[in-house]
């Protein structure tokens, strides 16, 4: 590992910065998609529920890599304009992981006891006020742990962009491997880098969770392992289907 020159380290670190940016932008887009689609899926009009539900099922059934390649290679050919690879990646990751996130939002909103909404009605709140002041503040702490899992999935998903030639960690590692002709050191190093990023993300989300729970007068949970969060379902489809049973259609 010591035979990396300073230039190769710099290449990798620049890759880390690209990966971090990709994660942040995709997470922002994904969060917006998750809340819009997730809330639409609890709407009282069936047509809104149907359209948002279709969005969820389609993106959940799609492979992110296939979609990314389609957006990157095929959309420019047919529409005639080229998307910057970075933004093609953000668009794909945001829409895909946003779809998974919508299930978290929907499940958490559906899990707020109906009695809370009734109390809101009894006090004369409008539906928008009930959502903003009563339902979302209570649903939010429930969303944080699964969002943490999803964020780590997203972080791992950003490695796919190396296929498009975006210079993230994984892409930089390929360059380093070509330069040194040695695979073991560089791939070990970047695996550790990803792990550290995931660890930091989890720390941040723990903090968010603690604050969210304090905001509803509950104490924060204690995590068991270094990185694992407490709660059900570590991954996208598990997240999706464990909460699907509790929801109303």
């Amino acid at each position: 590992m010591t035979d990396f020159s300073a230039g190769l380290w710099e290449l990798l670190l620049r890759g880390v910065w690209i990966t971090v940016q990709l994660t942040v932008y995709s997470a922002a887009l994904g969060a917006a998609v998750a809340f819009v689609v997730g809330l639409a899926r609890t709407h009282r009009l069936w047509i809104v529920r149907f359209i948002s539900g279709a969005y969820f099922e389609i993106f959940r059934g799609t492979s992110a890599l296939v979609l990314m390649i389609w957006v990157f290679f095929v959309v420019p050919l047919t529409l005639g304009w080229q998307l910057v690879p970075m933004w093609a990646a953000v668009l794909t990751l945001g829409c895909t992981y946003g779809a998974y996130g919508s299930e978290i939002v929907r499940g958490a909103v559906a899990a707020v006891p109906p009695a809370q909404t009734e109390a809101g009605i009894a006090l004369g709140f409008t539906p928008a006020q009930r959502l903003r002041k009563i339902v979302l503040p209570q649903a939010w702490p429930e969303m944080v742990p699964p969002f943490n899992n999803l964020l780590i999935e997203l972080l791992k998903g950003t490695a796919l962009v190396s296929v498009l030639g975006v210079g993230d960690i994984t892409f930089a590692a390929q360059l380093v491997r070509n330069a040194t002709g040695d695979s073991a050191p560089v791939y070990t190093v970047i695996l550790v880098m990803y792990f550290v990023l995931a660890f930091l993300l989890t720390r941040v989300m723990r903090l968010v969770e603690r604050r969210a729970k304090a905001g509803v007068g509950r104490s924060a949970p204690s995590g068991r392992t270094v990185i694992r969060k407490a709660g059900p379902g570590p991954r996208k489809d598990l997240v999706a289907d464990s909460s699907a049973t509790g929801g109303a259609a």
């Binding site: 006891p113 009734e118 009894a122 006090l123 004369g124 009563i134 509803v216 007068g217």
Partner: protein, 262 residues
């Protein structure tokens, strides 16, 4: 007990002419095949305290939920203070609904807000009251229910009885003309019931608020009620003063029911 009929007992605070504040006309409510309310008619005059009793599933709670617009009737007309609540356009429903407050069996405090904000939130956002005014009034009401020192606690840190008293203060903060009480003590541990009932007695005797109350606490009902309605299978089978209904009911079903709970 006195056997004379007295449909309108004399109440000192009942000043001026009587005025209908709640009116149900031919209201029917079904859940699936089950008819919970069957072409029900009844009225409540302003300032009166009416208690609904009857076996579970007889439709008492459904009436409160209909008045709070938590469920919609299948047929019939509901009028509150001269204005139609059902059927009515959404905007009118929202206006009329402000005249009604409700206290729930499970309290339903908002766990994401501290006690004080539970009480001030609706006056500020719904009635447009200033924050200072709402807070001053909330503190008064919390004083009234004996919880002035709990303003900054979260609901989850209170006992059931304390939560229910906050819920009462929260409902009163909206200055409703009508207060609906839905089995407000049945989720409480026995030793906490008295505190809540004392608060309600106090409110019943010191204000002119109209109360519609579903309860199994017969001594409380006897204390505060002007009128008691006995429900069975979605109909009112008997109504009268608490003395008459508890002491010398006419109806066999009423007698059976009372013997099971007294």
């Amino acid at each position: 007990m006195s056997a004379e009929t007295e449909p309108t007992p004399q109440i000192p605070r009942d000043t001026g002419t009587t005025r209908e504040v709640i009116r149900l006309d031919q209201v029917t409510k079904r859940f699936g095949d089950n008819t919970v309310l069957d072409q029900l008619n009844f009225t409540v005059d302003a300032g009166k305290h009416v208690t609904l009793i009857g076996p579970s599933g007889s439709g008492k709670t459904t009436i409160l939920r209909l008045l709070m617009t938590l469920v919609q009737p299948d047929e019939g007309i509901i009028t509150v203070d001269g204005e139609q609540l059902y059927p009515a356009p959404e905007k009118q429903v929202r206006e009329v609904r402000k005249k009604i407050g409700m206290v729930f069996q499970q309290f339903n405090l908002f766990p994401n807000m501290k006690v004080l904000r539970n009480v001030t939130e609706a006056p500020v956002t719904v009635l447009g009251m200033s924050k200072d005014e709402a807070e001053a009034r909330a503190r008064e009401l919390l004083e009234l229910v004996g919880l002035a020192d709990k303003c900054d606690a979260y609901p989850t840190h209170l006992s059931g009885g304390q939560q229910q008293r906050v819920a009462i203060a929260r409902a009163l903060a909206m200055r409703p003309q009508v207060l609906l009480l839905d089995e407000v003590t049945s989720a409480l541990d026995p030793e906490l019931v008295a505190g809540v009932l004392d608060v309600l007695r106090d409110i019943a005797h010191s204000t002119d608020i109209t109360m519609l109350c579903v309860t199994h606490e017969m001594s409380f009902a006897r204390d505060i009620s002007d009128q008691v309605l006995m429900f069975d299978s979605g109909r009112v089978i008997e109504s009268g003063s608490p003395e008459k209904l508890f002491g010398d009911p006419d109806h066999e079903r009423t007698r059976e029911f009372l013997s099971t709970i007294l």
